[in-house]
């Protein structure tokens, strides 16, 4: 692992899921944990191939992205969705703060499908 990669991994490992839950309120214009809305459901996200929730109508860009969601790919996507997946319908400028991204990812990693 590169030095930068090790730093990123350490930063992501320090993510606080409780702080992430507060930040997740920003996402709730379009997302929920347990059901699809304008955006797909988030429970079970880590380890899932991008564009793979059954029945959800993804953009072609997301379906073709070949991403698998893990801490690193989520960090990149959350930092700049449209740069990471040009043509995504997640038309959001991104979460600029690395600590906030780490907290959000920690929350998403802990989220279960029984949370509404």
């Amino acid at each position: 692992m590169s030095f930068e990669g090790a730093l990123l991994a350490a930063a992501l490992a320090a993510g606080d899921p409780q702080a992430g839950e507060q930040l997740y309120a920003r996402c709730q214009a379009c997302h929920a944990l347990a059901y699809d809305r304008v955006g797909p459901r988030h429970c079970g996200l880590l380890g899932r191939r991008a564009g793979a929730v059954p029945g959800f109508e993804y953009s072609h860009a997301m379906k073709r992205s070949k991403l698998v969601w893990n801490e690193q790919t989520l960090d990149r996507f959350l930092a700049d969705p449209l740069k990471t997946v040009p043509g995504t319908t997640m038309t959001y400028a991104g979460v600029a703060d690395a600590k906030e991204r780490a907290d959000l990812i920690a929350y998403l990693a802990s989220a279960t499908c029984d949370k509404r």
Binding site: Q28, A29, C30, A32, V38
Partner: protein, 189 residues
């Protein structure tokens, strides 16, 4: 203007409805004026602007459906029901304007889903409906905040910021109705 400044919730609501009506009329005029110059100013990033508008449109259509669920729940008492229906009317206006703008830019507007998934099993009292609506409005504020800087066309960014302001007012009023600080922070994120 806040409910806090009035002796009774009814007086506050009347004052709010009157004022917000004036504000929104002004915004609508500004947006319509903006729309007229869109075609002339649209350039190579029209497709991405259409993409942004359609995501916003899909969220507005969902908000209209969510307020309908709240209105039909039987849980909202009369003054609150009227307020919810007014907010739903705003979302309808937003959706209508966004759809027309997408069409004007040569795109196909997102359509409402035939069915939406809402956590209706958790709606057992008026406060549950208000909290659900407040969560949607709070998310909408963030979504517009994240969309405004992306527009290639500055007139569209201005229009989106105007909608953001309206959603923020909804959020504040809903928080206040829940007994929470209506404006807890100096900045939204």
């Amino acid at each position: 203007m806040s409910f806090l400044a009035f002796a009774s919730p009814l007086a506050a609501r009347r004052a709010f409805l009157g004022r917000s009506g004036l504000l929104l009329s002004g915004s609508a005029i500004a947006l319509l004026a903006g729309r007229d110059v869109l075609a002339a100013k649209s350039g190579g990033s029209k497709a991405s602007d259409v993409n942004i508008l359609n995501t916003a449109l899909a969220a507005e259509l969902e908000a209209v459906a969510a307020y309908q669920v709240g209105a039909e729940s039987g849980l909202l008492q009369k003054p609150v029901l009227a307020l919810a229906l007014q907010f739903q009317g705003h979302h309808k206006e937003h959706a209508d304007l966004l759809a027309k703008t997408v069409q004007k830019l040569g795109g196909a507007p997102a359509a409402a889903k035939s069915k939406y998934a809402f956590p209706v099993e958790g709606l057992k009292a008026q406060a549950d409906v208000l909290r659900f609506a407040a969560g949607l409005e709070r998310g909408a504020v963030s979504a517009y905040l994240g969309a405004v800087p992306l527009f290639a066309n500055r007139e569209l960014a201005k229009a989106a910021a105007s909608i953001l302001g309206d959603e923020a007012m909804h959020w504040a009023i809903l928080r206040n109705a829940l007994g929470e600080n209506p404006v807890p922070e100096a900045f939204v994120s």
